[in-house]
């Protein structure tokens, strides 16, 4: 029984969890004692090498299913978009036409709408997210830290369709009656705020997108800033820096790659966001300089027109848009992940 005591002492953190397993195996150590049912089971089958290797194989199979999933999605999308790939080739992505009746398709308006709304969303969200991250890691009094970070992460738990609902009934009227006229008054001369303002449009979509991607950027940035070793902060403070200089020189400069990665992850989210955007962007396939003008994104054209795609070419054009969205988000997310990993994993090494 000394094994049990030793074991219990060496892992004080989880004794109640670890002990039962020892207890199960314990009696079997004494050959005279009665065999526990578990030991019997193990002896009967499963203690052999076969059970171990087949278990490992099943686990590996499940792990590889993730690979298979990605390959599978890719193949399906390519297969089902071959009609449109054959008809328009790569020009599909620079053509402006979108005429289902004539069978003439091009994705440029959607690419423009997607890029415009995502970039605007980043412009709004990034400074705010950085502010939140700086506040939470460096300035916030300790008792407030947990509740505030919980609240900002609560934003991530709200489903997209609920954001859309709120945007349709609260943000759109606000945009039409208050925010829009205000922007025209101040920035009207830039030409970005021309034309009729119905409340729905690229700008409204960007605002709701920025609210949705904010929690992911701020929580990742927070993780990255926490990974910066304290000795860096102390070193800068010891040279007589103010708190802001400490944050700028000691923290932000050290974590800039990771922060760029976090922003790119937010971009990936924004590019593929569907429901909320579809509900407020206006769904009109036209490129317009004005931010009040209704637009269309890659994701929302699929959401809106997929179930009414009557011809095979129409359907395959929509699936090709899905393929483009898939490839772009994979590239953006891949680069972003590598950047975030580079910082959060390399942290202890750089502290030395």
């Amino acid at each position: 029984m000394s094994i049990k005591e030793e074991h219990g002492a060496s892992t004080p953190i989880t004794p109640p969890l670890a002990v039962p397993s020892v207890r199960e195996a314990g009696p079997s150590l004494e050959p005279s004692g009665e065999m526990s049912p578990i030991r019997k089971f193990l002896n009967a089958r499963g203690s052999g090498r076969l059970a171990d290797s087949s278990f490992a194989a099943v686990m590996l199979l499940c792990a590889c299913s993730i690979f298979v999933l990605v390959l599978f999605i890719f193949t399906i999308l390519i297969l089902h978009s071959r009609l449109s790939l054959a008809a328009f080739g790569w020009k599909f992505f620079i053509r402006q036409a979108w005429d289902p009746v004539a069978g003439d398709f091009g994705a440029l308006p959607f690419i423009y709408g997607t890029l415009m709304s995502s970039i605007l969303a980043l412009v709004i969200a990034v400074p705010l997210a950085l502010g939140v991250a700086i506040f939470l890691t460096e300035l916030c009094p300790r008792p407030l830290r947990a509740p505030i970070s919980f609240l900002t992460e609560l934003l991530a738990a709200i489903p997209s369709v609920v954001y859309g609902l709120w945007a349709v009934f609260v943000l759109v009227p606000l945009m039409r009656d208050v925010l829009g006229p205000f922007l025209v008054k101040i920035f009207g001369w830039t030409g970005f705020f021309e034309g009729a303002n119905f409340g729905v449009g690229i700008l409204t979509a960007s605002i709701i997108l920025s609210i949705m991607i904010l929690p992911i950027i701020s929580s990742l940035t927070r993780d990255i800033m926490t990974a910066v070793p304290n000795s860096q902060r102390e070193a800068v403070l010891a040279l007589g820096a103010t708190k802001w200089e400490m944050i700028r020189i000691g923290v932000l400069r050290n974590s800039r790659i990771g922060i760029v990665g976090a922003i790119m992850l937010g971009l990936g989210r924004a590019l593929g966001e569907t429901m909320a955007v579809t509900m407020v962007i206006g769904n009109h396939a036209e490129i317009s300089k004005s931010l009040f003008a209704p637009g269309y994104t890659l994701a929302s054209v699929i959401a809106n027109e997929f179930s009414e795609a009557t011809t095979n070419l129409y359907l395959s054009a929509l699936i090709e848009i899905g393929l483009a969205l898939f490839l772009v988000t994979i590239v953006v997310n891949g680069i972003a992940r590598l950047m975030v990993w580079a910082v959060t994993r390399g942290a202890p090494g750089r502290a030395a």
Partner: protein, 283 residues
């Protein structure tokens, strides 16, 4: 010299103020959304909402009972498929493949798959399971399961990594085979964290609409068959929100409130059970 230091101090206060302001600004939409949900949703909630199917256009009343049940069915299918695969993949990453090239590649792929837009999952599953056949609850469940797998894999792996090696070694030293050690020692020790991870994945897909648009499709009536179109709460909210009828808008708010409350209640309940040890299981 003094002017310089004053400038630096002012800069310090300005930036600190901006950071506080940013945090407050971020909390404004959160409070606004929650306020509107409760304010608009609660006033439209009544018993009929939970017991009736949607009323035809122009008629008062009606509810979303079929959508709530439909969401439950779709989410059960998704959990039954997604949770075992996700946990098994996480077990492989943490217990068998540490440091190998294939494990790193799988980890990276899981992270990337996590960022693939849900609408893309929707059209892939449509092309695979729906095209040529018909919209079905099963297809909706598969689409959501695909979204659950990468999240669960990563949290399972992270939770298993926190299990001390001494515990595993103790079990292995007693002659317990590796597969048994993984199941009864590592997984059981990490189970509260893994359950929480599964719940977070569940909560994330519970509100998903885009993958269900072309798979589960929605249904105005009761349906319990897995191979037929089925209603789902997020879908119903979407359809009602973009409709032109005030009565339906009212129901959409009520639906959104119910959706959020259901998600939060299920997450909290499982967390409480996981902490009490009810779900840890015994062998």
């Amino acid at each position: 010299m003094r002017r310089n230091s004053m400038r630096r101090n002012v800069m310090n206060y300005v930036i600190s103020g901006l950071a506080v302001l940013a945090t407050l600004l971020v909390l404004v939409p959160l409070v606004a959304i929650l306020f509107y949900l409760v304010y608009k949703g609660a006033s439209s909630l009544n018993l009929a909402f939970f017991t009736h199917v949607p009323a035809p256009v122009g008629e008062e009343g009606g509810g979303m009972a079929n959508a709530i049940v439909g969401s439950g069915i779709i989410l059960s299918i998704a959990s039954l498929i997604g949770i075992p695969i996700g946990i098994a993949a996480g077990v492989y990453l943490a217990e068998f493949g540490q440091g190998t090239f294939i494990a790193n590649a799988i980890r990276f792929t899981a992270d990337v798959l996590n960022g693939v837009p849900s609408i893309v999952m929707g059209i892939s599953v449509f092309a695979l399971l729906v095209q040529g056949r018909h919209f079905s609850a099963f297809a909706g469940g598969v689409a959501l399961a695909v979204m659950m797998v990468p999240t669960i894999t990563r949290t399972t792996e992270e939770m298993l990594a926190t299990v001390p090696h001494a515990i595993r070694e103790a079990a292995l030293g007693l002659g317990v085979p590796k597969w048994r050690t993984v199941l009864s020692v590592s997984l059981r020790t990490a189970s509260p964290g893994i359950i929480t991870g599964c719940m977070l994945a569940f909560a994330r897909v519970a509100g998903e609409t885009a993958p269900l648009l072309f798979t589960a499709f929605g249904n105005q009536f009761w349906s319990f068959k897995l191979n037929e179109p089925i209603a789902a709460l997020p879908l119903q909210i979407y359809v009602y929100a973009i409709s032109p009828y005030d009565e339906w808008h009212r129901l959409a708010w009520a639906g959104a409130l119910v959706l959020i409350v259901l998600i939060m209640v299920s997450v909290t309940l499982v967390r409480i059970f996981a902490n009490r040890g009810v779900l840890k299981g015994g062998s």
